[in-house]
């Protein structure tokens, strides 16, 4: 049985024919749309490497059935940079050494963007660490990750104030 679904991925409408109902959102992104920036780590919702934004909220794409997300708007790491200019969270991860091997980084960055949009952590590093606890980093770059999130949040808030003025 074939299923047809339609998603908006990084601002672009994508119509996908699925010949198998088992496809997760993660596998759809990686194997069908060839957006391999989103990583498959544990594939069981324990590591956070597959984090993407669905309708503006961060979720684990490995535990999301693609069919169930028909019509959703997805943002992945590939959709962040604009015209070669990095997203402020991407830039902050580089400046603060928020990674070593880089495998968890797309998930970390998407999770950080979700966290900042949720607006619950403020400038409290403990709340940032707690809010990022769903993203494991086996290189243990946690200190740089926390600094990057705090710095990016400050920059985004300033940019927002500038835009509002």
């Amino acid at each position: 049985m074939n299923f047809s679904i339609s998603l908006i991925v990084n601002g672009e409408r994508r119509n996908v024919e699925l010949d198998d109902p088992r496809v997760t959102l993660l596998d759809l992104l990686r194997e069908r749309l060839h957006l391999t920036g989103t990583k498959k780590g544990c594939d069981r919702g324990q590591c956070g490497a597959c984090t993407v934004l669905v309708n503006g909220r961060r979720i684990n794409s490995c535990l999301a059935l693609a069919l169930s997300h028909d019509g959703a708007e997805i943002l992945t790491i590939e959709g962040l940079a604009k015209g070669g200019e990095l997203h402020p969270v991407q830039a902050a991860f580089i400046e603060h050494d928020g990674f070593q091997c880089g495998f968890c980084t797309p998930g970390q960055i998407m999770s950080a963007i979700g966290l900042i949009q949720e607006g619950q952590a403020g400038d409290d590093s403990e709340r940032v660490r707690e809010g990022m606890s769903g993203n494991l980093c086996r290189c243990s770059a946690y200190r740089g990750i926390t600094e990057a999130v705090l710095d990016a949040q400050t920059r985004l808030a300033k940019a927002h104030r500038r835009d509002a003025a």
């Binding site: 198998d20 109902p21 979720i59 059935l65």
Partner: protein, 356 residues
Amino acid sequence: MKTFDYVRPATISEAIAAAAVPGSAYLAAGTNLLDLMKGGITRPDRLVDVTRLPGLDRIERLPDGGVRIGALVRNADLANDANFARSYPAVAEALLSGASAQLRNAATVGGNLLQRTRCGYFYDPASACNKRAPGSGCDARDGENRLHAVLGWSESCIATHPSDFCVPLVALDAVVEIEGRSGRREIALEDLHRLPGSTPELETRLAPGDLIAAVRLPAEAAFAGHARYLKLRERTSYAFAVVSAAAALDIEGGRIRQARMALGGVAPKPWRARAAEEVLADSAPDETAFRRAAEAALADARPSGDNAFKIELAKRIVARTLTLAAAGTPERLPALPASPFSSIPVTSIPGAHHDA
């Protein structure tokens, strides 16, 4: 993962009819179900996707001051609803201590109630497990069982119920609204989950096709000022409870008028501690009463393996939760919700900063 048919009904009655067919399972966010299916632990023939059913995603204030939470409300949305968190602070704290932010953004209220145990032998198809394969035995009995149940377990099954959310809910007399083939009915959350006995594969009182539509909480204004959830984990965040406790106290004039208490991580279901509540009623909110309540809460506990430590640990968590509840619900939840370490000033420990 075994393949399956996928249906997405538009109405509750269509959903019930589809799910009543043997081999069917409801799919909401799928954060537990897809994990189980990937491991071959659950092998449904047909998934009935309920995420598009209308009217199940609302948090409604009821005329009597209670609240009705639709089964499709996401855990994060409930915990961060300021009005809800003010009225039911221990429920919000429990929600925010569970899983990760990504999972809380997806996981639903109904799904949380029906999540399966995280017993490692249940999750391993090569192990004997009476819950997964009735009659096959229980490899947990002679296995790694330090985190297993100390209350309510049986020779057939020593697994625990993993939910945080259910613990304050059961303490606060939550009611589950169920839509089924013969219409709507209600059941106290305390009665939704069964004890394992000799049939651990029967986990709830739901019949085929039954759909949880909502969870209702009665008005709890009397408790909101003294309500906490405390959860001991093997790491600071993103872990299931070793033991947890929810406490809500109605304190007036230096006396506890009434108390609500439940435990998590210690039993096959969210465990209401009525004996502790009776000890606390009409007592002064002091250490003596809290210790007596802790003894009462764990009076029937016995180890199911290498887990005798959990009994003492649970007593201490009960006393600690009561102490924190008596001190008053914090204005804002601590940075580490439900963490026993939140209230300890640990500025002397490098790298650890706790602000509550």
